[in-house]
Subunit: 396 residues, 2 copies
């Protein structure tokens, strides 16, 4: 087994834990955040910049890469790491979430799922076995099984059926594996229903995976629902395997989830908000396009050591955004990723030093979050905008 | 005088010359190419990347910066160099060309020019004196006077009038200067009329400028017309001052112009074509979006040492362009600028070694240029697309 997970320390006051995932391509100190590079690129950044921002592992997406450029192309040029010039660990998502949210879904059956590509409308059919095979050909380090990820809903029967099928697919995914040098995680579903979450976690744990993901969250549900879902899931997962919360990436959510025992996160939020000019600071998100930054002759964040804050004033960033200069998106992305990855490092150090609870309190006392109502409206807006044709939303 | 120009060597077979401009912010070995950063950013690149590509001096634009963010903002944050984090020499164009091509022109009189901003339609009035003052406040190292730059036309009376006004403005620009630490160049106009070019060059030379620019070229005229215009202008300019051909930047044109005694070039062509996926190689421009690059597991240009070619395959670049990933525009821009700036270095070395004519022959024998008819069609298309509202053409 080329993958291991060692727990270094647990927090005495919360469920937080510090650990270390080792892969043949490098170690991942946890809790860790995975920058999202769905199409084999973290939007606007080169791999060296992703590394410099503090990333030890990144995420790519099987759905996106299958549709474009095609896994055959990536295989031919030596695999995903070489293709994107990122020698470190890569986790590939199965694309389950994308099939059920981004593509036009045609049919879901136990055999597999039929959908139309969001890129060109072409019809595709994927089985759990095919999704494993695609990821084995991509050569990523951690792979995910195809899962059924329904939208947030209150209908237990729909969610129960999705859990059943996710379990069938999880079993088949395990059997479909041909390579033993990749870690395979199981994905827990179950919506906001504690009993279904327990069943899903227990069933997957009984099969035995290298790690466990909590899927079906961050789909527009209230935050408190997400937090209780995490609690109701984590309790049934084995202690000695990494726990990965899919699609969560705001600083405040990361802290809450770490406190509940989560080890891994991925989310496009830091990079997407960056391209919209929303930049993280210790006191909350700032919109760099606001008039107050027009002639501000200091970095956006004086405490930040990122390339952007070391070299450019808030006035310059403001100008680049107002002028829609491409450099804007890159500088903002560097800043937001550095902020989130720096937070992960501080979280880990705090857990090791036995002061995580204090760090969490201090951070959240200073960090002003978007109010819940506004947040839910924004989230819904984003979820529906994703299915627009690409050409209309190149920066989203 | 903080600016000097020293001629190191002249080509025995052509008019090519190697020299050195010194400014208080660094030296510029000539012949030199200035990457275009109209809005205080070379599109898609950070200043360190522009430097790494081989630039010693860049161009910014008074018209653009006056409209946005406003020269007052840049002044307040410590001047243009600090604003954009580029400590080396900067040449600012006066904006004459932009006023007469990009803005909606309202009135031109000897007093000055009234136009509407291409950004927000607001009305502005600029005199030659104001344009000098704006550049003194920006703090650039080489400044340009306001000139009247009519479109390419065959009507001598129109061009004669533009030359007359350009001369009046040139005289007033000299008198308007308050700083003595910036070089001021004169701009020769005269269209495709040898006699007007001679008059313009002689008149400006009699006033005495720190350098001389050839304006009113690369406006859609046939290449042979441009080359003869250069010849008919250069002959009347003083030997001991830099000669700057405005708006020219294709490799083949640079070689021809250097052979005719030009020392400085600026053009958005290498960066703009890069964002369209047209990449320079020794054998000509290649369109990276062509299907032949889909699975090509080698750099676009094996002979190129740029960051892009050292780290990424043509297949990856192809994928980034097809997927409209922001990283595409940056990697392509790095490559094209490195190519052009590398060509400038090779040109200079060849002149110093007395083998420029051989380099020019060898380069042009291998480099396949766009045929003249296609080129003129593309140029016209671009000239008219420039006046479209910004929102429709963010990448152009």
């Amino acid at each position: 087994m080329s993958h291991t997970f060692a727990l270094d320390k647990s927090c005495p006051e919360t469920g937080a834990r510090a650990g270390l995932i080792t892969t043949s391509r490098g170690a991942v100190p946890t809790p860790a955040f995975l920058p999202v590079g769905s199409q084999a690129a973290v939007k606007a950044l080169g791999p060296d910049e992703v590394r410099a921002a503090g990333a030890s592992i990144i995420l790519a997406n099987t759905y996106h890469l299958h549709l474009r450029p095609g896994v055959g192309v990536i295989e031919k040029v030596g695999g995903l790491h070489r293709f994107m010039s990122w020698p470190g660990p890569i986790l590939t998502d199965s694309g389950g979430y994308q099939v059920f949210s981004l593509a036009r879904l045609c049919r879901t059956a136990d055999e597999g799922v039929t959908f139309r590509s969001h890129v060109d409308g072409s019809e595709h059919f994927l089985t759990p076995e095919m999704v494993i095979q695609l990821q084995e050909r991509l050569g990523s380090d951690i792979i995910m099984p195809l899962d059924e990820c329904p939208p947030y809903c209150q209908e237990p029967e729909l969610i129960r059926e999705a859990v059943r099928r996710t379990h069938v697919w999880a079993e088949r995914s395990r059997l479909a594996r041909r390579r033993d040098d990749q870690a395979l995680y199981g994905i827990v579903q179950g919506g906001a229903f504690p009993e279904l979450r327990r069943q899903s976690a227990e069933f997957l744990a009984s099969l035995g995976f290298d790690g466990y993901a909590i899927g079906g969250v961050s789909l527009g549900e209230p935050k408190q629902v997400m937090f209780s879902t995490i609690e109701e899931t984590v309790g049934w997962l084995p202690e000695d395997r990494p726990r990965y919360l899919m699609g969560v990436g705001s600083p405040e959510d990361i802290l809450e989830a770490v406190a509940r025992g989560v080890d891994l996160f991925d989310s496009a939020l830091p990079t997407r908000t960056a391209r919209n000019g929303a930049l993280f600071t210790a006191s909350g998100r700032r919109n760099i396009q606001n008039a107050c930054y027009r002639d501000r002759d200091e970095p956006l964040d004086r405490d930040c050591g990122c390339y952007t804050c070391r070299h450019f004033s808030a006035a310059y960033l403001h100008h680049l955004f107002r002028s829609r200069e491409l450099l804007a998106y890159r500088l903002a992305t560097i800043h937001n990723l550095t902020f989130v990855l720096g937070l992960m490092r501080r979280i880990r150090e705090a857990i090791l030093d036995g002061r995580f609870a204090a760090l969490k309190r201090a951070f959240l006392a200073e960090y002003r979050t978007t109010d819940e109502e506004t947040r839910l409206v924004q989230k819904q807006k984003w979820l529906s905008s994703r299915t627009e044709p690409e050409s209309l939303a190149p920066f989203v």
